[in-house]
Amino acid sequence: MSPTFDSTADPGPDALLQIVGPDGTRHLCPELDPWVTDIDADALENLYIDMVSIRRLDAEGTALQRQGELGLWAPLLGQEAAQIGSGRALENDDFIFPSYREHGVAYCRGVAPSDLLRMWRGAAPSGWNPYEVNMANQQIVIGAQTLHAAGYAMGLRFDGSSAAAITYFGDGATSQGDVSEAMVFAASYQSPLVFFCQNNQWAISEPVARQTTGHIADRAAGFGLATWRVDGNDVIAVMAATRAALAHVRTGSGPAFIEALTYRMGAHTTADDPTRYRDALELEEWAAKDPLDRVAAHLDGLGSDMNALKVRADDAAEKLAAGLREAITSMPDPEVSDLFAHVYSHDHAGLDEQRDFHQRYLRSFESTAEATA
């Protein structure tokens, strides 16, 4: 009489906010439409180009990993609308606390290719200067960044700033105590913070049903957050929800939560083999909801010149990919001295002694080499 645990999928898209359906049809969405009145065909074409670009960026990441240029890569394939829709909704001074999969958001922030790849190449613990792009470095410990975002948002409030903070995390992350605590703190101080959950249905091999029996967005509501549950493969809907949530938090009405339903079309990382745990059928189902195809279909319906658009998009994507390859070939390996740099911001007697010791150790090889030369 052993109990079984059904890993039935997320209860489904009830109350799911959507503007453009999988087939490209535009729906009325009274809750979201007011937030995207400016998204005309031109604007949508740009979002399309963005999505094509980051899909290409992602493919290049996977390719570079296969070629041995990167140690690892976490594909975003399938999550383009979630990342571009939200990334493009942010103001420049909004501060982002991402996980490890938000290459698309980093792209929106103009993170340099070399800085984006540095960590994945194993050349540095992380890449960019957060203050140059208003985006924290990649976070690997699941959920940890949500608390940093909550603290940063407290600071924004203390400063009387009109900026907001946003933090990205996955469906799996919602189980971590830190994420719940981040909601507690953000609500307690009514801080200007948007929680952006990319519910891509899987946490490595665990379906979202292992993490929750209900909707993730409902959990956030229980913490007193304003919530939006949105079709994460619908770039306009995601943008609208993010703008709505940002507007909400900027007024001092407390934090907000967006659950964007999407799907991780690829492997968890290049080290993962999803065929071991998930059904090809599920993949097919979600392929039919592709975030790029629906925008193309919609633009086509609007009368956009799709051939011209695809050329423009491919050009942009190819340029981006070339930049990534160039960044890799020109990236110098780190120096041994980097081991000891930045552990502390100033002198630390113990570490300084180790650094000096190691320098003497390395020099002993030089002298041996000289001696035998």
């Binding site: 501060f95 606390f97 992380s126 603290g151 605590e181 507690v184 113990g350």
Partner: protein
């Protein structure tokens, strides 16, 4: 010079830091109206307001994690952990985030967060209220760890810790909170002095190293040993990471004998590092192996047994006797 208790010195130091730098904010459970369960933040919320002295929800990971976020935004948070045993829920944020962010961001993000922890035993409390977790933090690269032992250092070191751009674990010997001492509030400490040990009593026969709550006990032991003709040099370590080995080595090269004492469990405690490092540097000067007098490798015991667990004058003198090869309790194998 003012006569202040250890806790008043901390309170005064916090106030001075807050007056000097408007980015200094205090965070913790019950630190506002209540002034903290030990009253270290007494009156500060009233004077600086609720956004400078921030009562937090009851979640230590949340406190440290949001302090990191505030530091990201340019603040200089000083976190109070209510008791030593309640720091562990924040361990991940301390070890994987606070300690590593500067390295991770290649020097771009500084996290000047001070975590104040009332630590150690001797106050008759139940479980989790008397822990000495310093070894966990001292072993963690990226953190600095200090422990004042008297009101003057409480006042000065706390301000130095807050002013430091790196994260500092600031361990307060809670059973000394009521100790009174002279405090020079005008003192301008030398740069770098936060990380230097102090010779608290000079002597020539043996070096006795202590920190935090046991510095007083060590000084008492030295006085007692004087009667037996042993001249002990007592070193107040003050900084647990980095350790000021220059001062320690100089002392041991002079005395040839070393006893280390701390309340924390012996196995893998800070005493092991001190003994191992000093042995490596001073082997040829040592007349006897370094001796450790520490808490046992047990969970902190109930109040009625803590006096047996905590190193006291007698146990330190027993260690001194061993180091002097004048007896003391024999080690099992030999005895």
């Amino acid at each position: 010079m003012k006569s202040l208790t250890f806790s008043q010195a901390l309170n005064t130091g916090l106030r001075a830091s807050m007056e000097r730098d408007s980015k200094v904010v205090l965070m913790g459970e019950d630190i506002g109206k209540l002034g903290g369960v030990f009253r270290i933040t007494d009156g500060l919320q009233k004077d600086f307001g609720q956004h400078r002295v921030i009562d937090t929800p009851l979640a230590e990971s949340g406190i440290v994690g949001t302090a990191i976020g505030l530091a990201f935004r340019g603040y200089r948070p000083v976190v109070e952990i209510q008791f030593d045993g309640f720091v562990y829920p924040a361990f991940d944020q301390i070890v994987s985030q606070l300690a590593k962010m500067h390295f991770r961001s290649r020097g771009n993000v500084k996290l000047p967060v001070t975590i104040r922890i009332p630590f150690g035993g001797g106050i008759g409390s139940p479980e989790h209220h008397s822990e000495s977790p310093e070894a966990y933090f001292a072993h963690t690269a990226g953190l600095r760890v200090v422990a004042p032992a008297n009101p003057q250092d409480a006042y000065t070191m706390l301000q130095q810790a807050i002013a430091d751009d790196d994260p500092v674990i600031f361990l307060e010997p809670k059973r000394r909170y009521h100790t009174r001492g002279e405090v020079d509030t005008e003192l301008i400490p030398e740069p770098g002095s936060l990380y230097r040990a102090k010779v608290a009593r000079s002597g020539k026969d043996l070096t006795l190293v202590a920190y935090g709550p046991l510095v007083k006990t060590a000084l008492d032991a030295a006085t007692a040993a004087e009667d037996e003709g042993i001249d002990i040099e007592v070193i107040d370590l003050r900084s647990l990471s980095p350790v000021d080995f220059a001062t320690l080595n100089a002392s041991v090269r002079k005395t040839g004998r070393l006893v280390i004492t701390h309340e924390a469990s012996r196995f893998g405690g800070l005493g092991a590092e001190l003994a191992a490092s000093i042995t490596e540097s001073c082997f040829d000067y040592l007349d006897h192996a370094p001796v450790r007098v520490t808490g046992f490798d047990i969970p902190y015991p109930p109040a009625k047994l803590e006096s047996h667990h905590l190193p006291d004058l007698d146990r330190i003198l027993d260690g001194v006797d061993r180091a002097m090869r004048r007896g003391g309790t024999s080690r099992g194998e030999e005895g």
